[in-house]
């Protein structure tokens, strides 16, 4: 096949009659007035045109791509190579959260020391935060940006999604970053608006909030805005239809969910609780279809992601692009030696006083940003924009405890081994029916000790695949019966690079694939049965879940669409 990256993206025209010329892809670039052309370029780059406007990969691209790679909805348009893989964390609290304590710069300096390139400050949405914290935290963030040049620090918030769980919402830095976040929080936060109940009206408010963020980008108030659902299965209140509706509300904003929650130290003996603080039971607000298994973590991951053939796969099997991440959710960190500032008046000041030296926190459940959980984004450059583009494109893999050093997964036409060809994570490979397709997996094994002072050993890599069956009729579906582990590779060596290839043969039907790996220390048959996932992640044990002894990485999917 072979084609450059300059190919014209002739996506399906935006639907509707009265679309402005910039939005009407039926009007070629050459026929646009300069102002419209500039606007179209901006929108296209922000992932808001064509494929970016689609919830599923099935509606992006055109038949003209008889043999070509494509991108999932959004992102920076089908790049295939020369990525900088930038590690980050989009879920971090500071003293501007009532239940947290660190300064912004404390979190930022630790994030940098632990090897992160980007981070998002996500203090809880609340009345005090909407009134005070959202403003006050900004100068702290601006100062930290100036102090730590090699770290990208976004301002965001942890949104109380009306009728649902929490979510990270963040924006590109700029002169309106605070104004947009503040307006958003005041108008759409479930706590501020007393809209926590699972009612249709509150679900609609959540949709309106996501649309507001998309509009803020289209109006060029901010250069980008993203939404990722946090700890989605923790309380069973993110129903499948809500997740689908968030994505549909604006696919350039609502891009995914935490595949692994934070609080990974919470299952250690000191605290005696569950990994991730996943110790809830169903409530009246919970989606009644979720089994009890969904309320616990499996190998440190959220049930929606850890179950092969489960909720995440049901979205991917629709062709619905929905990405996963892994974060610290740092509030108060395990084995830290500080405590919340004394004599704080959070409601009055919107923040706790600066932390002070205090007793050893052996029962805290969190790790510092980057200490344990990392979200790796394939970015075209080290910039705020590129990280958001990479996230939107789904060019993302996640790991715990530095299980591996680097990962390159590509769907390829069989035999094509050029380094920068093939379709990377989050992408769509479009081929003629009957083309031989394979996936290549290139891994740089860990070569330096992680933050618990051992070099992790990768034991096994699994390729998971399933047929793409199109949009579901039942928006509350959460199984993908055709998805399973199709191949497991044992890793025979402990250092250097390992490469695996799995052939899908001649492909006639649309499908997707994703990859996961483990240190192999804990496993049990998957919840959909041993025939689907013979060595899946094991249920984490209350009070005995040493997260360093149970390591996994997960990569986001690639679709293959024969046509």
């Amino acid at each position: 096949m072979g084609h450059g990256h300059a190919h014209h993206h002739d996506h399906d025209p935006a639907a509707g009659g009265d679309v402005p010329p910039a939005l009407d892809l039926g009007v070629p670039d050459a026929e646009l007035a300069p102002g419209d052309l500039s606007r179209r370029g901006f929108l296209r780059n922000a992932g808001l045109l064509g494929a970016g406007a689609a919830a599923t990969v099935l509606t992006s691209g055109t038949a003209a791509h008889a043999a070509g790679h494509d991108h999932g909805p959004g992102g920076d348009h089908g790049r295939t190579g020369e990525f900088q893989w930038l590690a980050g964390d989009h879920h971090i609290h500071t003293q501007y959260s009532s239940d947290a304590m660190y300064r912004v710069v404390d979190q930022a300096r630790h994030a940098q020391a632990y090897g992160l390139d980007w981070m998002v400050v996500t203090d809880h949405g609340s009345v005090a935060h909407a009134k005070i914290g959202v403003d006050k935290v900004n100068p702290d963030i601006v100062a930290a940006r100036a102090q730590l040049k090699d770290l990208l620090i976004y301002q965001g918030l942890e949104w109380n999604i009306p009728a649902a769980e929490h979510a990270t919402v963040f924006v590109h830095p700029g002169r309106n970053e605070v104004a947009v976040l503040k307006e958003f929080e005041n108008a759409f936060d479930g706590s501020v608006k007393n809209a926590g109940d699972s009612t249709p009206a509150n679900e609609a408010l959540a949709i309106a909030g996501i649309k507001f963020l998309g509009e803020a980008v289209r109006k060029r108030r901010v250069e980008g805005a993203l939404f990722l659902a946090n700890h989605p299965a923790r309380r069973g209140i993110d129903s499948p239809h809500e997740i689908r509706a968030w994505r549909d509300a604006d696919p350039s904003v609502a891009i995914g969910m935490e595949g692994a929650p934070g609080h990974q130290a919470a299952g250690l003996p000191g605290g005696g609780r569950n990994r991730g603080y996943y110790d809830n039971s169903p409530s009246a607000a919970s989606f009644p279809g979720y089994p009890l298994e969904s309320y616990r973590t499996w190998g440190g991951f959220d049930w929606m992601t850890s179950t092969v053939g489960g909720l995440w796969d049901s979205l991917l099997a629709e062709g619905r692009a929905w990405w996963i991440s892994a974060n610290s959710d740092s509030h108060v960190n395990y084995l830290d030696t500080s405590q919340r500032g004394p004599d704080s008046n959070f409601d009055l000041n919107g923040k706790h006083n600066d932390p002070v030296y205090g007793p050893l926190l052996s029962t805290a459940g969190d790790y510092w940003p980057g200490q344990y959980s990392r979200t790796h984004v394939g970015a075209s450059s080290f910039s705020y924009r590129s990280v958001m583009d990479g996230l939107r494109a789904g060019r993302v893999w996640v790991d715990h405890a530095g299980l591996i050093k680097a990962l390159d997964v590509r769907a390829r036409i069989a035999g094509d081994r050029r380094r920068e060809s093939g379709t990377p994570l989050g992408g769509v490979l479009r081929v003629k029916r009957g083309t031989r397709v394979e996936v290549t997996i290139d891994i740089d094994l860990a070569d330096t000790p992680n933050w618990s002072q051992f070099v992790p050993t990768l034991a096994r890599v699994d390729v998971i695949a399933g047929r793409v069956t199109g949009p579901v009729a039942d928006k509350d579906a959460f199984t993908a019966p055709d998805t399973k582990v199709v191949k497991s590779f044992e890793v025979a060596k402990g250092t250097g690079k390992v490469s695996f290839t799995y052939s899908f043969g001649r492909v006639d039907e649309p499908f997707y694939l994703r990859v996961r790996g483990t240190d192999g220390k804990r496993s049990q048959p998957g919840l959909m049965g041993a025939a689907v996932d013979p060595f899946g992640p094991a249920l984490d044990v209350t009070g005995a879940a040493d997260p360093w002894e149970d390591l996994w990485f997960y990569a986001n999917p690639i679709w293959v669409l024969p046509q």
């Binding site: 699972s198 009246a284 607000a285 009644p288 049990q524 005995a544």
Partner: protein, 182 residues
Amino acid sequence: MVLRQPHLGPAAVILGLSLGHRTVREAEHWLAAHVVPLDLADLVACTHLVAAPYPHVALSVAVPAATDRLAGLPSTPPELRTAAERAAAEHGERRSGRAVRYPGVDRLVGRLTVGEVLANSAIERVVVLGGATAGPELPLDTRDFVRPQWRDGELVLVVMPHHTGAVAPFEVADPTPCCADH
């Protein structure tokens, strides 16, 4: 310990109630204050999660013999009657419902074996989260809080592995509240 196999025959009276409690904890407090003192033999009292007309917790109370002691309980407001009827029906069919009071519950304290739990209470099956059935010798750390559920006609207790080496009930009495240091 006196071993007894409590009899859980068909209920003579099943009362559905819905008083708009927002959480299972509130519903349990109400049961403790209003139903437990009635001193009903072989009482089974359950909570039921209900979505309509708004998310709340309904109740069902079943006893094996006819009694007039339930007559003093408050009546369900009209807008919650469907929820109350549904709770009674689910309990009657033993399809769903989370049992707070049931024969033997007071004996389920400290560490027991799965076999002792089955022998000493109305719980009919113990399953490990993820699907496996627990063998009778398996130690079970009750944490003094045991809430089985009706499933397919049986009163089933779901457990999960615990750091003590035993299993423990899936449900904990003090789940981590939302936004409490996390």
